[in-house]
Symmetry: C2
Subunit: 139 residues, 2 copies
DNA sequence: GTAATCCCGATTGATTTTGTCGGGTTTAGG
DNA sequence: CCTAAACCCGACAAAATCAATCGGGATTAC
């Protein structure tokens, strides 16, 4: 079980924007020169983050990206959802899943639901602020 | 973020073997006719489960697969580890990772460690017995 | 007007996933 | 001993996904 690089890169990007919060919009070029990741790829991720309402953009010259809300209001779960798509351990409980014919009797269904809920709760319990302050130990 | 079908199929298979515990070895053909998954593919997964010490096999005619230990002693984490490989949200903290040059200052490192530990704990907290008895609610 | 910058869809190469296949080995039962 | 049932295993292949790359369009500060 792995996370794709999207979630990982998006987290790096958001941490960087968090560090620069209040300093005005950060250009894509500036961001990627700092976090050392492919410019065009990060651009795509920033698009997802924008559409999810996590960053806002200023277009045109001197434009760039910045956090759309405070670091307390953004969670790891928000960032993963925006870039990796909703957590889905088993299709049978995904939002758009066709109902499985044996769903009522399936002995693993409860497990998927429980695991999905637990992991989502975990992801949503960590804010960008926690990361910036390196608060992981006490959570 | 998704689990591959390996972990999912392996869970189905193990639940089936748990239901048949005590009834002697179950043939691959019998297993897959019940859980309705591709025979040759499940065979591969059973190989991984065997090498991980979760199932044991009886070779030759009338042979088959059965749990190698009691359902209490097998966890979801064991099954996922055996079939999907160790949980790895970020390479930088994997066992075989080359140490990242900026590891000490990386603000996301703590997050990966915390998330990985939490999810592993979650996976290890659910036994095959819990699944068989549908005990998820109370965990 | 122009350069800086974001926006976005299409395409591509690499990798991983999800199987399939063929033959080898083991063993119960007659 | 023979045979059929069954596991074992490595190689192969199709499909899907990932990780970018690219080219051009739209917006705006100066």
């Amino acid at each position: 079980m792995k996370l794709s690089t999207k979630g990982k890169y998006a987290l790096y990007t958001m941490v960087y924007l968090g560090q620069k919060a209040g300093d005005g919009p950060q250009s894509l070029k500036g961001i990627t020169q700092n976090i050392l990741l492919p410019e065009n790829y990060i651009e795509q991720l920033l698009g997802s983050l924008r559409r999810a309402g996590l960053v806002k953009t200023v277009r045109g010259a001197q434009g760039g990206y910045e956090l759309a809300k405070s670091a307390e209001e953004i969670t790891v779960g928000d960032i993963f959802d925006a870039t990796e798509g909703k957590l889905s351990l088993s299709d049978c409980i995904a939002d758009d899943a066709v109902p499985c014919p044996k769903s009522s009797s399936c002995p693993t269904r409860g497990v998927w639901e429980y695991l999905t809920a637990s992991i989502n709760k975990l992801f949503n319990s960590i804010s960008l602020k926690d990361m910036l302050e390196n608060n992981m130990k006490e959570i």
